[in-house]
């Protein structure tokens, strides 16, 4: 099955390996659809009066015209028929005015037509005015938008994500998902956010609806019970709303992965009561990242790079101080997480907060951090690290500035709350910047892009700092400092039909496969990050790694390398060249005619 055409044929007609998802028979969408049609009915009801007025005016005018005696061109008495009268009234009422036909009107007719003109113009103005005001009616437009959205979602015939909450986080996630070539559907309570969807430059069409995600009916309309819905992501600012989305998804569509943003542990636990949603807490994750950065800066660097999605630039490797005292300003959710994480690493922590909750801890300095006197009490000269972690960007920036002034060698972490403050934080040249929306977006992306990447990121920190540094060097040597494509290949009959015999030979080395099909002396510009065989994963396998059938590979590299590898996997002759260096004919007849020994990769 090395021929691409045969492969295409096989994929078209043979049974698909992954069965089509079953249609679930949920009827939740019905409620919202009925709501939409109710609005249409209301509109029809409101059009009753203008339409009846119009019909009545027309009827009276036409009837009058047929009853009023007239004359033909010879002066004989003549009465207008219904057709003539209707014709005359139609063009008169619509102000077209063809004149007096078929014969010039008598005075009595003209008087009647004069009255009719005013009547019909009023009737038309009333009807058209009502129609236009209805079209601009908010309820009507919402009903139309809902119907349009429902139709678009129902017509989706490929896997899609349901994103509830399209704030900054949703936007970042949307762009990463779109760059992977996958579809998503968006719900947000704010109409401006949904309008901004049209301005965002996505490759695919993104259906968006202005609706409250807490309503299960809206979720259903957005595709919760759609057979192709592959995951639900709750990213709203409102914790309750996220919980409601998790509840609805777990109860109405069990089995679909759910990822929710949370900022408190209690809420995460309340969500866990409904099944197994994956929760992302930006403060918790940042604390974990900081601990990883303290222990293994290179692992942290690689982790953040791979999480950032295609196109991300490799960030400078920071060197956070591993011993000494840290000062944390702001003892909110972030402050709590960081304090416990840093203390778990055996570091001393001084907390500065005007009214710290749970102030029983030692090392808490009560006072406003932006007050120079309070900051002086914290004894920054003797500290090694400083965290500006309040929920106000201006405060954080001024804290960073004053901390820098008293001790320029401090390792500075700062929390950036609003996207608009990004240039200011960038100008401050901060060592570790926490942007909660980015942390959540990256984390959700890592979980959703491919299961292999998530597996890789979970297991990678265990490999140690030096290993991560070496892998980072390999990656930058191959694809530069900007992350290129990340993709997954499964070495089975459907995705790699040419490889069957070669893999079965037991001598299929990864290094031989990863060569350029144009010139096999050149390596392919891609690095295998992970090989998954059965349940066991091998991280960053070397060139000597022996591949086996049904292995799953996670690769990072240039998009061109992805295409080149795709050809190698499908075309027998290319594989033969890449592995052995021999150019063999690709068609069956030429293979018969050429008197060469059988290629090593064919059975």
């Amino acid at each position: 099955m090395g021929n691409p055409l045969l492969t295409f044929w096989a994929n078209l007609f043979e049974r698909r390996e992954e069965p089509r998802p079953r249609r679930t028979a949920l009827r939740v969408a019905a409620a919202s659809a009925a709501q939409a049609s109710a609005t249409i009915f209301l509109i029809m009801r409101r059009m009753r009066a203008p339409l009846i007025v119009l019909i009545a005016i027309f009827a009276v005018s036409v009837l009058g015209l047929t009853l009023i005696p007239g004359q033909d061109d010879a002066g004989r008495p003549w009465r207008m028929g219904f057709f003539d009268a209707f014709y005359v009234m139609s063009y008169t009422a619509s102000t077209i005015g063809f004149g007096e036909i078929p014969y010039p009107f008598t005075y009595s007719q003209r008087m009647w037509v004069t009255v009719s003109i005013y009547l019909t113009v009023i009737g038309w103005a009333y009807a058209i005015g009502s129609l236009l005001s209805l079209v601009q009616d908010r309820a009507f437009r919402q009903a139309l938008a809902l119907q349009h959205f429902t139709r678009k979602v129902a017509r989706l015939r490929e896997p899609f994500l349901l994103i509830a909450g399209y704030g900054r986080t949703g936007e970042l996630l949307g762009h990463s998902i779109d760059a992977l070539g996958r579809r998503f559907v968006v719900l947000d309570i704010d109409g401006e956010r949904i309008d901004s969807l049209e301005l965002d430059s996505y490759h695919a069409d993104v259906p968006g609806l202005t609706a409250d995600a807490r309503d299960p009916g809206h979720l259903a309309v957005a595709g919760l019970d759609h057979p192709w819905c592959e995951a639900v992501v709750a990213l709203t600012d409102d914790e309750e709303a996220n919980l409601a989305v998790v509840m609805a998804a777990e109860l109405l569509r069990p089995g679909v992965p759910v990822i929710a943003r949370v900022t408190s542990r209690t809420l995460a636990e309340r969500m866990q009561a409904f099944g197994e949603p994956s929760t992302v807490n930006p403060f918790d994750r940042f604390g974990d990242h900081l601990r990883l950065a303290l222990k293994a800066p290179a692992s942290y660097q690689l982790l953040t790079w791979l999480e950032s999605g295609p196109g991300a630039e490799l960030e400078r490797r920071g060197t956070p101080p591993r011993s000494g005292r840290w000062v944390i300003c702001g003892y909110g959710r972030l402050g709590h997480e960081l304090t416990s994480d840093l203390r778990a690493e055996g570091l001393e922590v001084t907390v500065v907060d005007p009214n710290p909750a749970g102030a029983a801890d030692h090392g808490v300095l009560v006072g406003d951090g932006s007050d120079p006197w309070v900051l002086a009490q914290a004894d920054l000269d003797a500290a090694v690290g400083f965290v500006a972690g309040t929920d106000n960007d201006t405060t954080n920036l001024s804290l960073v500035a004053s901390a820098r002034r008293s001790n320029p060698s401090l390792f500075i972490c700062a929390r950036q709350n609003r996207a608009a403050s990004a240039p200011l934080f960038a100008a401050m040249d901060i060592d570790a910047r926490l942007v909660p929306s980015e942390v959540v977006a990256h984390e959700v992306y890592a979980q959703l892009s491919t299961p292999l990447l998530w597996r890789f990121l979970k297991e990678m920190p265990g490999q140690g700092n030096d290993w991560a540094a070496e892998l980072t060097d390999r990656l930058t040597a191959v694809c530069g400092r900007h992350l290129q494509a990340l993709w997954k290949v499964r070495l089975n009959a459907a995705e790699a039909p040419a490889l069957g015999a070669w893999l079965a030979s037991g001598e299929a080395r990864l290094g031989e496969l990863m060569r350029n099909p144009e010139d096999r002396d050149q390596p392919l510009h891609a690095v295998a990050l992970l090989v998954l065989r059965g349940g066991s994963a091998t991280l960053a396998p070397g060139g000597d790694f022996v591949l086996a059938p049904d292995d799953e590979l996670l690769l990072a590299g240039w998009p061109a390398a992805r295409r080149a590898l795709g050809i190698t996997l499908v075309v027998d002759a290319v594989l033969e060249y890449v592995v052995s260096g021999r150019r063999v004919p690709s068609s069956w007849i030429w293979r018969r005619l050429s008197r060469r020994p059988r290629p090593v990769t064919s059975p």
């Binding site: 049609s37 029809m44 009545a56």
Partner: protein, 128 residues
Amino acid sequence: MNLEKVVFGFFVVLAATLNFGFFIGDISDPSLHNPYELFAAVVVNLIATVLKFGDRTQIGAVHLATSLVADLQLIGASLVLGYAVYVSSAGLNADWTASVVSLSGGALLANVVSVVLLVIETVSFHRG
């Protein structure tokens, strides 16, 4: 007493009675079928149709459907009448009259169904 119901019932019954008045008589005799009566039937039927807009119940939907059928038949009858009088070389003879009246007969049937529905609705309304 509900004024809306009175107006609704009035137009539904008037549509049926006008239609009946036009239909009754020898099917091929033009002098027994007054075009003014057809005109009135068309207008009243249109008004009845508009009155039935926006009712979400099952019986409301059937009401609207019967009215639309009656409109279609009556407008068809008017068009045939107009063609016979203005276009056809034979004029309004017995054949054309028969087509017009039979079309209005179809509309009459739809109007009768409408009236029956109205009666059913009234009978099944117990509180009044």
